[in-house]
Amino acid sequence: MKDLHSQTYYELLEVDPNATQEEILKAYNRARATYGNNSPALYSLFNKEEAQELLKLIDEAYSTLSNQFKRKQYDRRNSEPQTEIVPSSSISPSATFSDDLAIPQGHDDFAIPQGHDSFSVGQSNNSGYESKGSALSNMGSTKFGKYQLDTNFEEQIKDFTDFPGPVLQKIRLYKNISLDQISDSTKISRTYLAAIERDDFKCLPAPVFVRGFIVQVAKILGLDSTKVASSFMKIMKENIPSSTNTTGA
């Protein structure tokens, strides 16, 4: 689909170049719904591979446009004359998706497994939930599907001590998990999930709720939920001045 590859990220998501983050998120969710496995609108027109190719482009577009820094870079690059606007599958390691990314059948039935409160990267478990060796030795897996293992990045994840939103997003994208899948599984609003990844603390509810969200997201990502939640809440506290505490940044 040559012309699709030549579309800008904004065209792919069908949003205006001046679209707000909320509009981009809304467009992304709509695009995921349109090209997901369960979409009735795909019937008879796109085969699975074509739809997945489109999903890759759409995820790639969203991973850039939802990140203020990446979006500015992208806009700057596209405003340069003679620059061809071509989504690159190698824009970042985290933006590369496997063919298993599409929303799985019956994803609404997913629920967070009980009794797995302290998953951490590299920690073995018998849930089939975290990355593990398999016949495809370089493939990791989550309950949503497989992803390409990157040993360097796995090591980096182990070394992370701070978990701001963009780091969580990077890990999520690395593991080929979409916001839709997390939202469907945890019932956390996509708006909040996106705000978490943007470190957009003003869009988030009271800290007590956010902590609950982070714990659930960390579990989905196979991270140590206690460590991740503590880190995120600390960052949040430092960045959002409360009405009674003006010591924040």
Binding site: D3, L4, A33, P40, A41, Y43, F46
Partner: protein, 331 residues
């Protein structure tokens, strides 16, 4: 009353094109491929919505062989139908106009016309269009039959508001895509004839596998790239083609969203600028009105559908947008 008054020709006029003189009429045509999705129901109620806003509307039932627009409009089978026009018994369409309950809505019936449009010579179609354009009305609304016959597609394409009626069911969506694809290729063929681009289209088609043409929009890009100078004219013509989508029998929010998805896919796959102008909720009032052979809007004025029809009619009537199609992109 079954008659065969037509000058039946040996083969359908699939390679012949209907001639449309320049005009200033607003022509709406509803197609969609599948039968039973509510095309006649939708177009008849859109006509009434337009009439309620003061427009003079003429409907024509070109679902020959299965015409039942009169039923949706709450009228008896007219004594004179299109058969009389095609046979020459009635030279003027004015005498075929049947008045409805609304003074500014009349219609021309195709009821009891036993032959399909395919069997009507191209000259008769051209004569019909010439006479339709001369009718005293603001809006000419065309009800088309199911299927993708070239004549059906030609009437669909002559409209400046080509409307796709679809329901959220896979069968309807599948047939709608087939209809859109057929209309799109028919349009390409029309432009090809107009611009003498046949060789380019054929070249692109012949190399379908080698050139990686997977989608209709790929074909358009390929045609444009093979001959940039003629391709630009081709793109300029093809971008004029726009579709208007109405999702009928919507029951859930997901059904509404399916309309957005179909629109998005039409944009991305076909490269056609498609507008989702609205949806119509499933309402028991519909079948009740049809069983009574009454127009829904007049029989159930408090149905939410009345508002939905009014909104859709307003959007279609007021939509003078001509946004750039992504077909314009040449890279």
């Amino acid at each position: 009353m079954l008659r065969s008054p037509f000058k039946v020709v040996g083969a359908p006029a699939s390679n012949q094109q209907i001639h449309v003189p320049s005009h200033d009429k607003k022509i709406w045509a509803i197609g969609g491929g599948k039968g039973g999705v509510g095309k006649s129901f939708i177009i008849s109620n859109l006509a009434i919505s337009l009439a309620r806003s003061g427009k003079r509307v003429v409907l024509i039932d070109l679902d020959l062989g299965s015409a039942n627009l009169h039923t949706c409009l709450g009228c008896d089978i007219p004594k004179q139908t299109l058969s009389d026009f095609f046979s020459g018994r009635t030279p003027s369409l004015n005498s075929l106009l049947t008045q409805t309950q609304l003074s500014n809505v009349s219609f021309i019936s195709g009821a009891n016309d036993s032959v399909v449009a395919a069997n009507i010579p191209i000259e008769d179609h051209n004569n019909l269009i010439k006479n339709l354009l001369a009718l005293p009305c603001d809006h000419l609304l065309i009800d088309l039959g199911a299927g993708t016959h070239s004549t059906t597609l030609d009437y669909f394409l002559l409209a400046n508001r080509p409307i796709i009626g679809v329901t959220p069911e896979p069968t309807s969506i599948e047939n709608a895509y087939r209809f859109i694809k057929s209309a799109f290729y028919r349009q390409i063929k029309n432009i090809e004839a107009k611009l003498n681009l046949k060789s380019i289209v054929d070249q692109a088609m012949d190399h379908k596998n080698n050139l990686g043409i997977k989608t209709p929009s790929d074909l358009v890009y390929k045609i444009a790239s093979l001959n940039p100078s003629m391709g630009a004219a081709f793109l300029a013509e093809i971008q004029k083609f726009q579709l208007y989508l109405i999702m009928n029998q919507v029951r859930t929010r997901n059904d509404v969203d399916t309309g957005h998805s179909v629109r998005s896919i039409c944009n991305k796959y076909f490269g056609i600028n498609t507008h989702y102008v609205g949806y119509l909720e499933y309402d028991n009032a519909v079948w009740q009105a049809i069983r009574k052979r009454k127009p829904l809007i007049l029989e159930y004025p408090y149905s939410t559908l009345v508002v939905e029809f009014a909104n859709i009619a307003r959007k279609l009537d007021g939509d003078e947008r001509s946004p750039q199609s992504n077909l314009l992109r040449t890279s």
